[in-house]
């Protein structure tokens, strides 16, 4: 187990109340300890967000679209995360 998507399958991280808004980054920070390269952990976080987007976009209205917008602002706006090569 060395990526967030597998971690999600095991623990459902990213699928609770915050829908990955905050927990994904906390988990990525912890997972980073076990990876050789921190850059890979950032790309892994970006992949995780894309993967969650697949599950959320079909129901992205109501509170879900609000959460997605918040998540985007945190990761892309404040952190400057890119889809790859972080």
């Amino acid at each position: 187990m060395n990526n967030l998507i597998d971690l999600r399958r095991r623990t459902r991280v990213g699928m609770g109340t915050c829908q990955g808004e905050l927990c994904a980054c906390r988990a990525a920070g912890l997972l980073c300890d076990s990876l050789e390269e921190a850059g890979k952990a950032k790309d892994d976080l970006a992949n995780f967000l894309q993967e969650r987007w697949k599950g959320m976009s079909p129901i992205a209205w109501g509170d879900t679209i609000n959460e997605v917008q918040f998540t985007s602002w945190i990761y892309e706006g404040i952190y400057g995360l890119k889809p790859e090569n972080n």
């Binding site: 980073c32 892309e76 889809p83």
Partner: protein
């Protein structure tokens, strides 16, 4: 209750409008539902960071290539430079100290260790002139033991790419033992509250000095000074090496403090701030908004000559999406956005999402439109306006502040 102006929304945009109007002697009220985007303030205000995916070095120049529907174009590029100056001074009068210029972006280091262009940076944080090198090459990144909202390895990785050698160290102190027992308590605002009390600063500075003897700078999470404005200044005095603070996961401590200071400025100018209140609707007559009804004021109507809607984007519930439509929830104003839900989203999370461009429709004077008719005394400002993707452009705070100041100028004309 009768005011000259009532502003709906207590975020950056609403507060900017309120302060500017109150400074001009207007009797104003702000109705705020509670939290706003300032609670996840990064410490910097962006004006324009990117156009078509390319970095912008001079935002005032970069704006010339924006579409005519963009809020900056609609404000008028000939007005922008003056308004950016106005904005900076409004913040300074509120006691907030920022550095930066509208005609030249500087850079800040993000908590992912990535450099980002920006306009104004709060004095807590460090501005850099270049995005590809730092003025130092040895740093220590310090974190509080048990604090999960600051990712030291990500920062170290980013620094390494720019040839900075960084060490990571943790600090434990008895002041934080109580909040550490429960991981959900170990949050930035709770750490800040301990520092606010004043009794952690000396011991903390001593530990930082011991751990940073062999480095040039000290990198720390920005968890200092929630209600107490002087914590960062004191740390800077007591810590021997320069401090580089980086944002932690929200809530943002400097953001909460900035919001409190802006609100205080508004109230000091005689403004009335209705906290935790929601506007439920209004009475319209002949394309004018006469009064609004709020949750906490029952049958007491709030009247004003002019109203400003600054209710924010989706996450602030200024715009609401259901499975088959978009609407403006307070008055049912006309919306600028696609009515077909299939067009709201792009399948790639990091692509330019169409919904980000949606907002309330306005006429050329930034007045709201309802059933095709302009409401002559209801203005719209901030991120509830559409016409841009502020996330992709790096223009969120700029659009908020500049459209607010522009709207106020329309009202004062």
């Amino acid at each position: 209750m009768k005011f000259d102006n009532i502003i709906i929304g207590g975020g950056l945009s609403g507060l900017t409008c309120g302060i500017k109007l109150a400074e001009q002697g207007k009797k104003c009220a702000i109705v705020s539902s509670g939290q706003s985007a300032i609670h996840f303030f990064s410490g910097s205000f962006d004006l324009l960071g990117k156009v078509d995916g390319e970095d912008v070095s001079n935002p005032l120049e970069g704006m010339k290539s924006l579409s005519e529907k963009h809020p900056y174009q609609r404000v008028g590029l000939e007005n922008i430079e003056r308004l950016t100056d106005d904005a900076l001074h409004l913040l300074i009068r509120a006691g907030l100290s920022f550095t930066g210029q509208a005609n030249r972006n500087h850079f800040v280091l993000t908590p992912m260790g990535i450099m980002k262009p920006t306009w104004l940076t709060l004095d807590d944080f460090t501005s850099f002139d270049h995005k590809d090198h730092f003025p130092w090459n040895k740093a220590v990144i310090l974190n509080f033991s048990g604090f999960l909202d600051f990712h030291t390895l990500f920062i170290k990785d980013g620094l390494k790419k720019l040839e900075v050698d960084a060490q990571i160290k943790n600090i434990s102190m008895k002041q934080f033992e109580a909040i550490r027992k429960n991981p959900s308590e170990m949050r930035s605002t709770n750490i800040a509250k301990e520092f606010d009390k004043g009794n952690a600063i000396d011991e903390f500075a001593e530990k930082v000095n011991l751990l940073s003897e062999t480095t040039e700078v000290v990198i720390l999470p920005a968890v200092f000074g929630l209600f107490n404005r002087n914590v960062v200044e004191k740390l800077n005095q007591k810590i021997n090496k320069p401090l580089v603070l980086l944002p932690a996961i929200p809530p943002s401590v400097p953001g909460v403090r900035s919001q409190i200071m802006l609100r205080q400025r508004f109230q000091d100018l005689g403004g009335t701030y209705f906290m935790g209140d929601n506007v439920e609707g209004g009475t319209f007559d002949n394309n004018r908004l006469l009064d609004i009804k709020t949750n906490n004021h029952d049958d007491i109507k709030l009247e004003a000559d002019q109203f400003i809607l600054a209710s924010g984007s989706f996450y602030s519930k200024g715009i609401v999406a259901t499975h088959n439509k978009l609407y403006e929830p307070i008055f049912g104003l006309d919306i600028e956005g696609d009515s077909d839900r299939n067009n709201w989203l792009d399948e790639k999370f990091f692509n330019d999402q169409p919904y980000m461009h949606y907002g309330v429709k306005t006429d050329d004077k930034f007045r709201a439109v309802m059933d095709g008719q302009s409401i002559e005394n209801l203005y719209v400002a901030g991120s509830v306006l559409g016409g841009a993707n502020p996330l992709k452009e790096g223009s969120g705070a700029g659009i908020s502040v500049l459209t607010s100041l522009h709207t106020v100028e329309q009202i004062l004309k």
